[in-house]
Structures are given as C-alpha cells and as structure tokens.
C-alpha cells in the first residue's frame, strides 16, 4: 500500500481545524491508515483502489466531503485550448496511445511542486504498476510551441538533455548512462524505435516512460501553465490517469483546457470529465447493509451525487465497477461504526475435518507417551533435506525465493526435527519429539503436479533411544489407531545399515523407521544416539 506525506497545517486548515484525535478517528473511519500525525507532518496509507487520493489535493478533497465541509460531486469545467497533439503512425508498435490536457492559472510554490511530484511518483508506482501501464509527463507550457508531436524514431537519431544532466544524450545513451534510464530501460529495450514527444520547433520534451528533457520538462514556481500527457497502451486507462492528475491540479485553482488529439485514423478530444453514472436499486442496498440508511446523504459524504436511483461519481474514481461498490460507499459514508453487529439465526451443523480428528488422536497418544510436540516449517532447503542426510535428489523448489535457506519444500519431517534437537543440544535428555505436517513430492497425477502428504515425524534422542524405542511407539500408535503394520528391512541413507525398515500398512509403504546414522548426527552437530520414524498417517 502506498503512503503519502501531507502538510500538517494545510490539511488541518482545509478540514475545519479538527483536533488531532478527531482527525485521527475520522481518517480511520474513512478508511485511510494513519502512520504518523504531528506538527512535523502527516503520513497516511492510501488503499490501492484510491489513486485519486495520492496527493494532498485529492486527499483533502475526499476528506472535505466526508466531513460534510464540501459534500457531493465536484464538477470541473473544461474549456477548449485550440491546441493539438499529433500522433504519428510510428508509435503504433512501441507506445500507441496518449491522452493530453493543458492546465492554466496555476499558482505553484515549492511545497505544491513537491506534492505534484509525489502524485506523479506514487501514480507511476501503484496505479501504473511501476510505469508498466502508463506514464505521466508534465511540462511548462510557456517553453513549448504547439502543436506537439508524439512519434517514434531510432533511439540513435534523437538527442536531448535529460532531466538532471548538462549534456545531450541520444536514446541509447540515456538507457545506459542515466540513472532513470538504467532503472526503466528494460521497458524500451529491444525496440528498434523509441517513443518521443517534441514541439513544433523540434524541441524534444521527453522519451516516455523514461525521462523528460531538462529544458522543456521541468516545472518551477514561476510556471503557471502546464501541458500534461499520459502515454501507454490502453486509451481508456490513460484517460482515467489524466483525469486523476488534472482534477488534482484543478484543486490547486487550475483551469482545465482540452486538446485535440490527431491520431492517424481518428480525432479525439481529451480530457473527458463526464461523471460516471450507475443505476442503484435501493432494495439491494438495504438487503446488503441490513438496514435502511439515508443514501443521498451517505453518498454525498463520499463525493457522489444521488438522485432517483442514479448515482453520479467523479471521473477520477477507478473503483466503481459494480453497484456493490456504491453500496460500500454508502456504508462508509453512513459510518461503519453506526452499524450494530448482529449474529444471524442460521442453523448449521459443525464438523471438524477428518484430518484434524486423526491428528488429535495421534497427539493424544504421543503426549501420553511423554513425547513433546514441536513446530517445524514446510519451507526449507536441499542441504538440510537431502545433502545432510546423504541424498542426492532434489526437493520441490521455488523459482523466486529471496533466500538460499528457504529454497523449497520439505520431502521429509525428520530433518526439521533434527534441527529442533540441534537447537536443544545442551538441554536434558532424553528428548522425544514429534510434529505433524505436510511433505511434498512430485506426482503428475495431482492437480498441481505435487503430492502433499500429511505426515507424522517422531524423533527420539538419548543414550537409550534406539530402534526398539521407536518401534515401541510406532506399535502402540498403530494399534490404538485400529490398524496393523509390517516392517520390511530396507536401508536408507539417514539410518544405520541393517537397523532400518519400511513401514507397510495395508500392503502399501506408509513410512520408514530406523536408527539415525552417526554421520547424519554429526552433520546436525548432535552427540546423542537418535532413532526416528516417519508415517503418512492418512493412507
């Protein structure tokens, strides 16, 4: 979840000078998670479904409605700018779409510029999925000559001074030398042509989604008019992204002007700030919420208008997919704490799962035999599972683990138990432990290609804890579970030769038993004799 930083004074003033405690409570009940709030600043977590709140302007707008300071839908006017953006056919293969606008009469200062940069960065990171779905460019309009051209060319052919540099670079040099170029270069790599914006004088504005020009792509406190473009692959998405940015700028007092986008095959006017409309069935609302609430009032507090079964929502909201989303808006607007929790009268018969029941039986038996239940993990590595026990095979591995120690899934319970003993080597003996968990082996017949087996592992350690002791426990356990077993002598590398066997139940191999080999004990830095068994207890 993204967090954003807000100015304490600005927010307090805009929200009617509530006390810190009231503000904290209201923010919580609106659904933003407060991280810090004091005179040095406010940090809040904004849910991923609300990219329109990723700046101070959008955040304050939402809270002003929620606190009934300015409820209802906010409308923004658009005037035509008469300016054009020409989209060349060459971008079709590499970055086909852009949506653009101009915002005038801005009064910027350093703090507001910082908020604007924060908005752009957070949108890139979250809503744009780290610039994969789209990228935003904001330029001082007074440095540009319209019309703007969106085109693609071989990266070697286009040169400009990227933001933060003093020398001209071509597209390839930016990818290899510039910090942002190296970070996002993979998005353009492999294309024979890179996308660029330039103005009618031929001055390059930017190379999306990587970097703006130092000359035409830098906002300062003297900037009053900006050109905004959002470029990417899905025009619908880009139009929404543009709406989020310009509606936030409009909260700064900016006036929005539309532009004509000349695509090779069509002409478009952007932005489009028509409110989203959705039909709402009041019965549906009451059925879901469990009581009748004042829908119009609740929706007003969430920044919507409601009249006669039609909800009008702001054009920057991206989270209204279904009437159910409106129902939630109503619930939040009404206040979650105003709903009285009730237990419904639904009669159902409880049932514990079969696995749980068998596990409980086994636990009761083993605890009675004075064994200690321990906790072991599914996630482990080949060294512990195989190498240290003398096996060459591989466990089921992850493709993307961050740590070599956590590279895959156990195939046996015994190594994890040996690790527990290792940590208890200096404690009193005998140590008799067990755990029940899942073991993983490849099996084509399974839905996932991996068979997951509920397995019991028992490990005994101490001067007298030999094969006999393990077999006693196994025998006792199986008898109480109402089954019978046979042992078939077989060697396993973790056990001493001649002191190990397969456990056979109903003619099928259900596990193994033996005395742990001294070499294995040494690998786990253990000094006491150990015996163990492992049993698939459901088969």
């Amino acid at each position: 979840m993204p967090t954003i930083n807000l100015n304490y004074k600005t927010v307090k003033k805009a929200l009617g000078n509530l006390s810190d405690d009231e503000l904290k409570k209201e923010m919580a009940m609106f659904g933003t998670d407060l991280e810090t709030l004091d005179k040095s600043g406010i940090t809040v977590e904004v849910f991923a479904n609300r990219p329109d709140m990723l700046s101070e302007f959008g955040f304050v707008r939402a809270l002003q409605a929620f606190l009934n300071i300015k409820p209802g839908l906010r409308q923004y006017n658009i005037k035509p700018s008469g300016k054009k953006v020409i989209i060349k056919p060459s971008v079709k293969e590499v970055r086909p779409y852009t949506a653009c606008a101009i915002v005038k009469n801005l009064k910027l200062d350093d703090e507001k510029i910082e908020q604007l940069i924060q908005l752009q960065e957070k949108l890139h990171l979250t809503f744009c999925r780290n610039r994969k779905k789209g990228a935003i460019g904001i330029y001082p309009s007074d440095k540009l000559e319209y019309p703007i051209e969106f085109f693609a060319d071989a990266p070697k052919n286009v040169k400009f001074v990227p933001l933060g540099e003093t020398r001209e670079m071509n597209g390839l040099q930016i990818l290899s030398r510039h910090k942002t170029g190296r970070e996002f270069g993979h998005m353009l790599e492999g294309n024979s042509k890179f996308p660029f914006f330039k103005d009618s004088k031929g001055e390059v504005l930017s190379m999306p989604p990587i970097i703006n020009s130092e000359f035409t792509g830098k906002i300062s406190s003297s900037t009053t008019e900006v050109f905004i473009e959002c470029s990417g692959f899905d025009l619908r998405f880009l139009k929404t992204l543009l709406n989020i940015v310009i509606c936030d700028l409009a909260e700064l007092g900016g006036e929005i002007f539309s532009m004509e986008l000349v695509y090779p095959d069509k002409k478009l006017i952007t932005p489009d700030l028509t409110p989203q409309e959705m039909k709402l069935d009041e019965v549906y609302v009451e059925e879901l919420l469990g009581e009748k609430v004042n829908i119009k009032k609740a929706l007003g507090k969430m920044g919507h208008d409601y009249s006669k079964g039609i909800v009008k929502s702001p054009p920057y909201r991206v989270d209204i997919l279904h009437p159910i989303d409106i129902v939630e808006e109503i619930a939040i607007g009404h206040g979650y704490d105003n709903f009285k929790p009730v237990i419904p009268n639904i009669s159902t018969i409880a049932k514990e799962s079969y696995v749980s029941q068998v596990k409980r039986k086994i636990v009761e038996i083993l605890i009675g035999l004075k064994l200690d239940e321990v906790f072991t993990f599914n996630v482990t590595n080949n060294r512990v599972q195989n190498t240290m026990l003398g096996y060459e095979e591989k466990i089921v591995e992850f493709s993307n683990s961050k740590s070599g120690d956590l590279s895959g899934l156990r195939r046996s319970m015994i190594p994890g138990l040996l690790e527990v003993l290792q940590k208890n080597a200096n404690n009193e003996y005998p140590q008799k432990i067990f755990d029940m968990g899942t073991t993983f082996t490849k099996d084509k017949d399974q839905e996932t290609g991996v068979l997951e087996t509920d397995t019991l592992g028992v490990l005994l350690s101490g001067k007298d804890e030999d094969f006999t002791k393990s077999k006693q426990i196994l025998e006792y356990l199986i008898e109480i579970l109402g089954k019978s077993f046979k042992l078939k002598q077989r060697n396993f590398t973790e056990f001493i030769e001649g002191r190990a066997a397969e456990i056979i139940i109903d003619g099928k191999v259900a596990g193994k038993i033996g005395e742990i080999h001294p070499e294995v004990l040494q690998n786990f830095k253990l000094e006491m004799p150990c015996s163990a068994f492992e049993l698939a207890f459901l088969d």
Binding site: D234, S353, V379, E452
Partner: protein, 500 residues
C-alpha cells in the same frame, strides 16, 4: 510443625553423636552408618539449619594399583616365604614377577629370613618361619587404608614411608572433607532420641500392618522438588485448538486444502487482476517445477475469464484487460486460506445453502523470518453463505470472535481487498497499551467472485484473520521466532486462556 518429627533415623543418629566439630567420616565411625548416608543426612540437617557444614581440603592416602593387588594376594615377600616354607626352591618355582622377586630377595635378606644357596635357590630360616604368620606394620597399614595424611600416628608414618619407597603401592589423593557442627537451633532442641520413623511408605508396611508400630516422619512440604517432565502440545497448536473451538461451537464446518495452489484459485477466482502487485515475484513464492497446474472445468475458467475482462453476467465492468490463462496456471504457495474459501464455494450449489465454513491454516509469503515476519504464517478463515445475510451479520461474527479471544472493544474500519465489498479491517483495543491493533481483514465477497463459482449471486460473509500477533500478545512474547521455537527444558509455555 515440630522440627524433631521431620528428622529421619540417620539425621537423629548424626545429631546424637555430634557433640563437637566432626568430619563426616568420624561421624560415620561413631554412628556405624555409611559415609554416604552421613553426608546425605548432613545435607538434610543443613537444609533445616540444624548443622553448619564446612568443607576442608585434606590429603588422603589411598591404595595404588599394586597396593590393591597385594592387599588381596599378600605382599610379594610373604608370597616368597610361603613358597619356600616346605623346602628350598629355585627362583623359577616362585610365583612372582621378576621385579617382585628382586624386591623380595632384598627385603628378606635384610631381615635374615632366607639363605641364598648355589646353584641359585632359596631356603627359609627359622626367623623366616616366624615371619610367615606375623602381620607387619606395612601390611596392617595397607589393609586399613584410606587414611588421612595429617593424622598419621608415628608407626603409621613409618609404614607409609616404607610403602612409598616401593612401586605403586600407595598414593596421595587430595580430598574435600566435610565437617559439621551443631547450630544454636539444634542445641535448643534438647536431647534427641533415636526412634524408627516411617519414611517412604512401602507395600510391605501396608500389607503387614507394620506401619501401625511407628510414627510417620513429617515432610517439609516447602522443600523444592525436581521439575516434572511431561509431553506437551506446542503452544501454537494449543492456541489453534482454542480458536477452532470457537468456530466449531458456532456450527462451522472445517475446510482443508493443499498448500500449493494454482494461481487460478489463489488469485483469479478471487477477482485479483493478473497485474496486481501481490502476484509479483517479490511477494509470492512460485514453484519452479512443476511450474504449471491443471485448470478446473472449462465452464468455470470461462466464467472467471469473463468477470475479469468485462464483468460477465454479474453487472460489473470487470477489470477491462485481456485475461491470460497461462498466468492462472502458475503454481504458487497459497498466500491466504481464502483460496480454500473460493474452492469451497465452487464445490457448492444452491441446495447446500445456508452453509458456514472455517479453517485455521498456514500461508506463505516470499520473506525471510525475523522478529515480526515469517515466510509461513497462520490465518483464521471463515465464510457464511446464506441468502439474507448482511453487513451487520459480518460485523456480528467478527465481534463475537474477538470477544471470545478476550477483546471486548472492537471497531471496524473500511479496508480494501480486490475480492470483497464492503471491505473491513477489524481492530481491537489493547487494554494496556491503549492502542487499536489491526488483526486481519474481512468483507462480503464481490458478485464477481461468487457468481462464477456458485452460479448465483448470494451474499458470502468472509474473513481472514491473522493469528500470530494475538498469540504473541497473550504470551507476552515480542519475537515471532520465540513463538515458533521449541525449548525442551523443564516447563514449556502453555496457552492458558479460557473463554470468559
């Protein structure tokens, strides 16, 4: 409690003779008890503050290897004399080692006990015959060992010097000697009588009735006892049992399922768009081989595809992108037990309603373990599928659950999950820390989740609550690693909470 009644026979014997500062050994001689019995009795008396114990280092003379041998067989010179008692003999007829033979010849010659003849043989003298049955000082000394070096009498000192001149007959061992003296408290007890008391009651005493003849020794009930060793459940599983009980009591059916899940069930069926950050490699473990799972029935896959792309017949706009079945195949470690809820709903039809399910299961995230995070963690999952259930009922179940966990004050904040609407983040008020603690997520499943799985749009109340944080709180542990660890010493930590 009368302190005299707590005294056993040995303690009494010791107190009776202990009229001056005495070593344990001296007490043993006086009481005819074994030294170990005296030591033990002194320890008990010390616990009762009736004696004061002092340890002193002393030199103890002990028999060495040859000393042990000769005390059984006799000294070599005695063996020598016995061998020639009935007539002269050559050296090879005398049952002694070469070295012993030489020593014996030297000793016996000096005492004029033998004559040496040519060719080499030995003959006993009259004096020699007298010596055979006479115990020498050395022999007596050797037999009486061990002795304290500092309290040797002059003739013992003489014997000791003689023996040390010979090979490995005696040795000096540093020993701690225990001395005891009566305390004032003991003196005030007056005269102690010897009396037979029953200590540990025996089967024989019970069957014969002999217990009637004696008094029972009183025990010090406050004496420390060794810790009992028992088998115990791990505290995490104890907590799980507690939590499971809550849901079983309310009529919920337990769900089970695999830990590896196709992305289809972990994400797609839960209306989580394929470019959602949770599906990235930073967050979720994916399986290398086999990388792909099988997808469920075509009709279901098609339904899920449609709700993602345009909402299908649910009345939703969907996420408006092209759904890729390849991404749904990817095997991952389940990130939430909500995947079980999705599967469960998928297995039901209208006639199975109303229904309530729960699970307490492990989930995974691509992380390493530290004080507050782990690659494996538990989630307490629940769903209620019934026509007519509402948001207020969702809050009702959450409230009762937290009440049964011991939290009276609960609040519900709006939250966000791709698969629920209303989405709720329940928080409980920590009564000591005076802060709100977030413990999980909840909501009503979106129609985009329920309709493709169940065929009809019915409200499904759902929650997935974290478990470890609450357990850490209850056990007053600050570190997850301490919770997972098993310390096999003495008494292990247990879950002692009961429903109030």
């Amino acid at each position: 409690m009368n302190i005299v009644d707590t005294l056993g026979e040995h303690e009494r014997s010791v107190l009776i003779v202990l009229n001056e500062r005495l070593s344990a050994k001296a007490i043993a001689q006086l009481t005819k008890l074994k030294e170990i019995e005296v030591t033990r009795a002194l320890q008990w008396l010390d616990n009762k503050e009736l004696v004061k114990l002092e340890k002193e280092n002393s030199k103890q003379i002990m028999r060495d290897i040859n000393g042990e041998k000769y005390v059984k067989k006799g000294l070599p010179e005695k063996v020598f004399l016995k061998a020639i008692k009935d007539g002269k003999k050559s050296p090879d007829k005398i049952p002694l080692e070469r070295e012993e033979l030489q020593v014996s010849i030297g000793v016996l010659k000096k005492q004029a006990a033998i004559n040496i003849l040519q060719p080499l043989s030995f003959e006993i003298t009259k004096h020699g015959k007298e010596l055979i049955d006479k115990e020498t000082l050395e022999e007596k000394f050797l037999k009486e060992l061990p002795k304290e070096f500092d309290s040797l009498k002059p003739e013992e000192k003489f014997a000791y010097d003689k023996l040390t001149a010979r090979k490995q007959l005696v040795k000096i061992v540093e020993k701690k000697t225990l001395f005891a003296v009566k305390t004032e408290k003991a003196k005030k007890l007056g005269k102690i009588k010897q009396e037979k008391l029953i200590g540990r009651l025996t089967q024989a005493q019970i069957t014969s009735g002999s217990w009637k003849k004696y008094k029972f020794k009183s025990y010090d009930v406050n004496a420390t006892v060794p810790s009992a060793r028992a088998g115990q459940r791990h505290v995490i599983y104890q907590a799980i049992e507690y939590i499971k009980r809550i849901w079983l009591d309310m009529g919920f059916v337990e769900m089970e399922g695999t830990l590896i899940q196709p992305s289809f069930w972990n994400f797609d069926a839960l209306f989580t768009a394929q470019d959602h950050p949770v599906r990235e490699i930073h967050d979720t473990f994916f399986i290398k081989d086999p990388m792909d799972a099988r997808l469920p029935a075509k009709k279901l896959v098609e339904g899920i595809k449609r709700v993602h792309e345009d909402g299908g017949d649910t009345g939703s706009k969907g996420w408006q992108y092209k759904w890729d079945p390849k991404k749904a195949l990817l095997n991952c470690m389940r990130t939430h037990t909500t995947s079980l809820s999705a599967r469960t709903i998928g297995s039901l039809s209208e006639k199975d309603l109303p229904a309530k399910f729960f699970s307490v299961g492990r989930n995974f995230r691509n992380e390493t373990i530290d004080w507050g995070h782990s690659m494996e963690f538990f989630q307490v999952e629940g769903i209620v599928i019934a026509k007519g259930v509402t948001f207020k009922h969702l809050l009702g179940y959450l409230k009762i659950y937290y009440k049964k966990l011991g939290y009276d004050k609960v609040r519900f904040r709006p939250g966000y999950f791709p698969y629920t609407e209303m989405s709720v983040e329940p928080e409980v008020f920590h009564p000591k820390k005076k802060v709100w603690m977030e413990l999980g997520g909840a909501g009503i499943f979106r129609p985009e989740v329920v309709k493709p799985l169940l065929g009809i749009d019915v409200p499904v109340l759902a929650w997935g609550q974290g478990m470890e944080r609450g357990i850490l709180e209850h056990l007053k542990l600050g570190d997850l690693r301490k919770l997972y660890a098993t310390n096999l010493t003495g008494k292990r930590q247990g879950w002692n909470k009961c429903q109030q």
